[in-house]
């Protein structure tokens, strides 16, 4: 039996009805098979920059920019022989013949998308198995396939692993995954939050709805891992994921459509309040002497989810109209300020998104350094405070940018975003999560 009474209608990224009366638990990371698959893929999928390895070996530039070992070089035609490298790499990584190991050659051999078999990850406790297995297997493959001798093998290691283990992460390496090394996580359960929005936007091929969906899935799944989405707060997060991230009841799409041509951020605030009122989520509490009506709700979790959907729509209108990502933090503060002043009810995540916006403004506008919104993630020191409601909007803003930043998402993401966009479940997460929800809804 369902734990929570809420049922939602599912829509796709273009506002087309997908299914009706789906229990929100069918969208829970604990039950939705597509979300579980996405999380597995995040651990299993690794990008290899074969062209990068070839260049590093040829120039001796290994372990980071400008770090050149003079007199050391190895001319190996890795890109040209990407097919055979991929075959050998697959054999090396496989646990059993015919298991779920995959190696895909991309961009004429410049990149490889590797899926490490689940059995390897299951045999350990750390998600780093993905990158360590691929990096080590790639070294073995190159050494064997190209008959590299004992005196050059170290250069192959450095070209693949980068400066690790002198550095904590694989600095200047050519094997990468979405997940950072555990030492770079700010606290327990932060792994899925440590993924810059640049990666997310590129994986979704800059489709803002899918970027927000993937980001919301990762953020809200992390909430379960962090110990946030449990007990009194589980429904709060499930509703947030459904309404903000997954366009439940088409609220995000409707709000954007309503304000698409001339709407301001303030107009989106007003549309959000109207929608919450017409759906019976909020109601008037009393009139103050000045004539101002205070609103109240008997379901604060649902109000939060509506406001979060409005916040994403507000980001899409403001950053979409300007085709610029830098407006996002301003939206986070003032959407919440305005909606609080419009209703007398707390803003998204009960003030935490507004607070996050204040910090993010400083660190994304060259006031105290920082970077553009594409470098931010849920593990970032200034954007980790909202529990999953800010970063999906940042991801959408990055997706909507037409090229206003010096450091573009492409430059920040390197090969990871581009390579992982080949995984359909990551690229079009909204569709796959909807399909999975429909397939399991009967059993909830």
């Amino acid at each position: 039996m369902a734990k929570y009474p809420d049922k939602v209608n599912l829509y796709d990224d273009r506002g087309k009805l997908f299914d009706t009366n789906v229990p929100i638990e069918a969208l829970s990371p604990l039950k939705n098979t597509a979300i579980q698959k996405i999380i597995s893929y995040v651990k299993q999928c690794v990008a290899v920059n074969l062209e990068g390895v070839e260049k590093a070996l040829a120039t001796g530039e290994v372990g980071g920019k400008w770090c050149i070992i003079r007199g050391r070089s190895l001319k190996l035609d890795l890109v040209k022989n990407a097919g055979s490298v991929a075959d050998s790499l697959k054999k090396c990584l496989q646990v059993d013949p015919g298991d779920d190991t995959e190696v895909k050659v991309l961009k004429g051999g410049k990149h490889l998308l590797v899926k490490v078999p689940a059995k390897r990850l299951n045999a350990g406790v750390e998600y780093t198995t993905g990158v360590t297995a691929v990096a080590a297997a790639l070294c073995c493959t190159i050494i064997e396939n190209f008959n590299v001798n004992i005196w050059d093998a170290d250069l192959v290691h450095a070209a693949v692993w980068g400066r690790y283990p002198q550095t904590m992460e694989m600095l200047g390496g050519n094997v990468s995954s979405l997940l950072a090394v555990p030492q770079q996580n700010e606290g327990m359960g932060y792994a899925l939050r440590n993924i810059p929005c640049a990666h997310i936007a590129l994986i979704a091929k800059k489709n803002a709805m899918n970027a927000a969906a993937l980001s919301s899935i990762l953020e809200q799944t992390a909430m379960f891992e962090m110990g946030d989405a449990i007990g009194s707060f589980e429904r709060f997060h499930l509703l947030g994921l459904a309404y903000q991230g997954l366009n439940a009841d088409n609220i995000v799409y409707d709000l954007v459509k309503e304000n698409a041509k001339t709407g301001t951020l303030g107009d989106v605030v007003i549309s959000t309040v109207k929608r919450a009122l017409s759906d019976g989520v909020i109601k008037p509490l009393k009139k103050t002497p000045s004539g101002y009506t205070l609103y109240t709700t008997s379901d604060l979790n649902k109000w939060n989810a509506y406001a979060a959907a409005g916040l994403l729509a507000g980001t899409m209108i403001t950053c979409g109209a300007a085709r610029s990502m830098q407006h996002a933090p301003s939206v986070f503060i003032y959407f919440n300020d305005l909606i609080e002043r419009e209703t007398g009810l707390p803003g998204v995540d009960f003030g935490r998104v507004a607070g996050t916006g204040v910090e993010m403004s400083f660190f994304s506008h060259s006031i105290y350094g920082g970077g553009n919104p594409a470098v931010f993630h849920g593990n970032h020191i200034v954007t980790r405070h909202s529990k999953g409601f800010t970063i999906p909007c940042v991801a959408a803003a990055v997706a909507l940018d037409a090229g206003t930043t010096i450091y573009t998402p492409e430059k920040i993401s390197g090969v990871v975003g581009e390579v992982l966009s080949e995984v359909p479940e990551l690229r079009e997460s909204l569709r796959y999560v909807n399909e999975a929800a429909v397939s399991i809804k009967g059993g909830i």
Binding site: S232, L265, G266, P289, L294, T318, L338
Partner: protein
């Protein structure tokens, strides 16, 4: 559904009413002066009047946008369409009854203008937008009642002065002496652009708004004007938000119908 009319801002005081008025996009800000387009461009200093807009990326039509339902829906602003650079205008509002408080600039700006990026700091409020969009917004911000030539400064850098005493002519302190009081004309005149680069000819921005008028139109609470503490309704509102945020953080399920 219950009848709903946007209300913008709570509070029973005159200051709160002024805030509501400025935030409400249906209220047309009173125009007090005319600054020519060229002079505004010179004041901001991002381009020379008449010069073509520089771009940060090719026009969207040439660029070819990725397949995204939101991009298909959301109409880009003219500046975004053309690929304009993002530029800014920045204001410093004196604490002495200037028409706006820093926060008001953000609340008002986001209600009235599309595609703007507004940041609020204690002594300065930048508004960033695509260059040609910015010029349209800046016109409103400089020509209307929310700009007092004496107590509002257009300052891109070295903004210090919002909390300092006014000078003998009633002007806000400006370390870069961008604006001066022309005693003969009784008007404030800018001799430097917003970052302090000397202008080739001065730009007159009009007479300071009289003190009494400022006290009437300001959105600032002050103990020597209309104190915040006198607006019990607004205080209760702020306390309510604080209470709801805190209690919801403890257990959102327990916050019901209050």
């Amino acid at each position: 559904m219950v009848d709903y009319k946007p209300q913008y801002y709570p509070g029973g005081s005159k200051i709160a009413a002024n805030r509501r008025k400025y935030i409400d996009p249906k209220y047309t800000l009173r125009k007090l002066r005319t600054i020519s387009d060229d002079d505004l461009v010179r004041l901001m200093g991002h381009r020379v009047p008449g010069e073509a807009y520089k771009s940060v990326h090719p026009p969207l039509e040439e660029l070819g946008e990725p397949a995204c339902p939101i991009r298909e829906l959301v109409e880009p602003t003219p500046g975004a369409k053309a690929g304009d650079r993002i530029r800014y205008i920045q204001f410093t509002d004196s604490v002495y009854f200037a028409p706006l408080t820093p926060y008001m600039r953000a609340w008002m700006g986001h209600m009235r203008y599309r595609g703007v990026d507004i940041g609020v700091l204690s002594g300065r409020v930048p508004l960033e937008a695509r260059e040609r969009d910015l010029e349209k917004v800046a016109k409103d911000l400089v020509e209307t009642e929310i700009f007092d030539p004496a107590r509002v400064g257009i300052r891109g850098a070295t903004v210090h002065g919002h909390a300092l005493r006014l000078d003998e002519n009633g002007l806000m302190f400006d370390a870069l002496r961008r604006f001066q009081y022309d005693k003969n004309k009784g008007e404030v005149v800018y001799v430097k652009d917003q970052v302090g680069v000397p202008l080739d000819r001065p730009i007159y921005v009009g007479k300071p708004i009289p003190e009494e008028e400022l006290r009437r139109i300001t959105s600032q609470f002050r103990v020597d004007g209309e104190p915040f503490r006198n607006d019990a309704e607004l205080i209760r509102f702020v306390q309510r938000i604080h209470m709801l945020r805190t209690e919801a953080g403890f257990d959102p399920n327990k916050v019901k119908d209050i």
